[in-house]
Amino acid sequence: MLLAGFLALGLSACGPKAEKTGEAPALIGEGWTKYRLSEFHDAQLAFEAARAGSQKGSDDWAMATYGLATTWDLRRPGEDPRKATGLYREILDAAPDSPMTPWTELALVRQQHLVPVGQEPDYKAVNAAYKRIMDKFPGHLAAKEAFLYLESIQLAKLEPKTSRQSEKRLLDFISGGKPEFLSPAWSLLTVAYVTLGEQEKRLEAELKSLELTEVDPSDPFIEFGGRYWNIATIAEFEVGDFALARKYYQLLIDKYPTDIHVHGCKQALKRMDALEAKLRAEEEAK
């Protein structure tokens, strides 16, 4: 009897969780918190409750549906991409003017791009879809993100022709002015210039990328040691601009004295001095 009682008690604890109730915005907030904590089941319950508690087509509904779709799309394990696609499409059908629409469109393309292991994406379709987002939502952050993904696919071909085309588009994007994603756009340009063998432009792009790096005001833990090293070595070996190389090697030594590259920086400073001394002596001997 006693055992049966415990068993019944145990089984009742294993039953489905009680449905969540509350205001949709609060439930959406809770859903995202649970999602970030990888509590995907709880996130799903919260988003479902928010969806059920808001009017279909409203902004809250769209946000809740987007959260739910994202959970089904990206949770591991237990993902259901097909269900996620259905939910994303539901947003586009029922709330085409919602602020979530650009992000929903981007999520659908990302599904096409990030295929499971062993499969190759249909790059032609993926590129066209990224382009569609850029045309449909010009200036929106989702469109800018789509632009970066599209250009990274083009540049990954490592071909001079596509790199040149990409260079033009990236320069157009940069001239757009807004600071969002400008630093990675300059970084992508450096890739184009490596493929094109234009080292001076590569160095300039690296410097611009560093200058425009966005720093999270609440997170000052950003290190530029690796980037200083990169700029210094390009300046030294690709461009022959020893003054700039010295500046960045020295910056690394001064700002990050315990960085792993410090030994290399000191060697580099000596190496450049030695080379200049040798060449100077040779010129004087002439």
Binding site: L74, L148, A156, L158, L188, D216, P217, G240, G264
Partner: protein
């Protein structure tokens, strides 16, 4: 016999085992409850602290600091849960999942990194707020106004969880590896008071030790107590740094390191082979030094080597700061323990001089890290106690008691540990000869045979090189098959950050007062910058990095006019020459 007695006996017979278990459970519960009650008088705030450091000095150190803390916080009692390393992972998991975790827990070890990440996410409080504010316990010192994270020698790098963009722990100590030696035995066998600093001198001393016979055992003395565990120390700290020079041949992307793909391409194109001096001499030094280990060391574990050292049958043994105090205790009244740095060859060494560029670089990464659990009933007190332990004075004191290196700047190191002062500038190994499962297995086999002197260097190079060149690409491609999995993980993570940023936008739009609006807008801006920064640094590059890597590993020959990564091309040389010429002309001009 009355019926009730009969039935009682029958019940007892049937359920005897269960009753014994129940009785033991009741007894242990009672003992624990009364023990806890003694430790924690009514009305006190109890802070439980869980860790895996069973060294006596650690418990002693924490107890002493708790007593010190009580002087200013009389109602706070700190109770330690010292759990053995072997079970710490399971213990942490059950405590966290069961909602019974201690307030403060040692974190970052005994479980895989991804498990810790998920635990940090679910069960620990972020500490970024405290990391960016001064530590109140540093008042009156030069660190009084310095943000807490900057008071750490490593800038609290190891406490920062990139995936969460939060500081999650407080590191309290730094660690390092050095050679411990028996001072008395060294003196007796070699007549030396000081440990050898130079490599050649060290080998000569080892030879001298080996030629002496231990009167007690009738066996020769063992110069170095080694094991599979200790071999890693020697290789990492002394042998493999000789391979640093490989960057000059194979660091094609000039990031300062030689990746496994770069080594492979350098071998394929003939830029490198095992006869390249840094590689050849690395393997030569390995053989020279391990010849002074006891026979069969590769099959032995850490404890066997420690026994040899403690029983005074061996003179040298490597270990880390974590063992320093224990070894000192074990040797007490028997022999004096000394600590020395790894002896490296001098620059004029006839054999190694050409590849020795300095000492190994040691990253000052903080360990002995503690986080605060979300289930803590007194999180403010728990965090305050951690700040106390990580204050300049507190950190110096706890580390002095334990015998470890303090993590906070401006602290004094125990003189015994001076040799552990990390080398903050130096070189590092560039050994990376495996590309996937098959090459890793073949490497493991050949390298082990070489280690125990069953094959010569020539045979090692002759056997492994063709296998590496034949199977390497296949192995690499197999390993690269799931390269998009990383992108999917990032996508999952980014979606969460994006969701938070969109909510922050909504909160800013809904704010009622100008102050609320301003704070909410700042929060939203911060969330979006964070989102863009992570998107830019992670998600945009995978496609490109994969393409570049594939382009590299498929190369069978070097491009025309190839110059080494750290050599000047004729074009650059000409440019520098022109500049010098122009400068000389300008100087010569009246």
């Amino acid at each position: 016999m009355p019926d009730f007695l009969k039935s009682s006996l029958s019940f007892l017979r049937t359920y005897f085992a269960l009753l014994v278990v129940f009785a033991v459970f009741v007894w242990s519960a009672w003992v624990i409850a009364t023990f806890r009650a003694q430790q924690t008088p009514p009305g006190t705030v109890v802070i439980r602290l869980g860790h895996w450091q069973l060294e006596a000095s650690v418990r002693e150190g924490i107890d002493e600091m708790a007593r010190e803390y009580r002087k200013t916080h009389p109602n706070v009692v700190v109770v330690q849960d010292a759990i053995p390393e072997g079970t710490y992972g399971q213990w942490v998991s059950t405590q966290l999942m069961g909602g019974t975790a201690p307030d403060i827990m040692q974190a970052g070890g005994m479980l895989p990194a991804n498990i810790w990440l998920s635990y940090f996410n679910r069960y620990f409080l972020p500490l970024s707020r405290y990391a960016n504010a001064p530590n109140p316990y540093n008042a009156g010192t030069e660190l009084a106004d310095v943000p807490f994270r900057k008071t750490h020698k490593d800038g609290m790098k190891t406490a920062y969880v990139t995936e969460m963009q939060e500081y999650m722990t407080v590191p309290l100590s730094l660690f390092g590896v050095r050679i411990f030696y028996n001072k008395d035995l060294l003196k007796k066998l070699t007549g030396r008071d000081e440990a050898p600093r130079d490599y050649r001198e060290f080998l000569a001393v080892c030879e001298q030790i080996r030629s002496a016979t231990n009167a007690a055992s009738g066996q020769p003395y063992i110069p170095i107590a080694g094991s599979a565990y200790h071999f890693g120390h020697w290789d990492g700290m002394m042998f493999s740094p000789l391979t640093y020079g490989a960057i000059r041949r194979a660091d094609f992307n000039r990031d300062g390191f030689v990746g496994n793909d770069e080594t492979f391409v350098a071998f394929k194109t003939g830029l490198l082979d095992f006869h390249y001096p840094p590689f050849k001499l690395w393997l030569q030094m390995l053989r020279e030094v391990t010849d002074y280990f006891q026979v069969g060391y590769t099959g032995l574990g850490r404890d066997e080597a420690v026994f040899l050292f403690a029983q005074q049958r061996a003179v040298f043994m490597t270990t880390g700061t974590w063992d320093a105090r224990s070894l000192q205790e074990q040797a007490k009244d028997q022999f004096e323990v000394g600590i020395m740095d790894f002896p490296i060859p001098s620059r004029d060494d006839p054999v190694y001089g050409e590849v020795v560029e300095g000492r190994i670089y040691e990253s000052p990464g903080g360990g002995f890290q503690f986080g605060v659990s979300r289930t803590s009933k007194n999180p403010d007190v728990a965090i305050d106690f951690l700040l106390f332990l990580a204050s300049q004075k507190g950190n110096e004191k706890i580390n002095r008691i334990i015998g470890w290196i303090p993590a906070i700047v401006g602290t004094e190191l125990d003189p015994f540990l001076k040799a552990f002062e990390p080398h903050l500038e130096g070189i590092y190994g560039n050994v990376n000869f495996t590309l996937g499962g098959n090459t890793a297995v073949a490497w493991g086999q050949q390298y082990s045979l070489y280690q125990v002197n069953q094959i010569s260097f020539e045979d090692f190079a002759k056997t492994y090189t063709p296998f590496y060149l034949k199977e390497g690409l296949k192995d690499f491609l197999e390993q690269q098959r799931d390269w998009r999995r990383g992108m999917q993980r990032n996508e999952q993570y980014l979606a969460g950050i994006r969701g938070r940023a969109i909510l922050a936008d909504q909160a800013a739009a809904a704010a009622q007062t100008p102050e609320e609006k301003s704070a909410a807008e700042l929060d939203a801006e911060s969330a979006w910058i964070r989102y863009r920064a992570i998107t830019a640094s992670r998600q945009v590059w995978d496609e490109l990095n994969h393409a570049r890597q594939m382009d590299l590993v498929n190369r069978d020959k070097l491009p025309e006019g190839f110059v080494g990564p750290y050599e000047y091309s004729p074009r650059v040389l000409e440019k520098v020459r022109q500049r010098i010429r122009a400068g000389q002309k300008a100087e010569a001009a009246p």
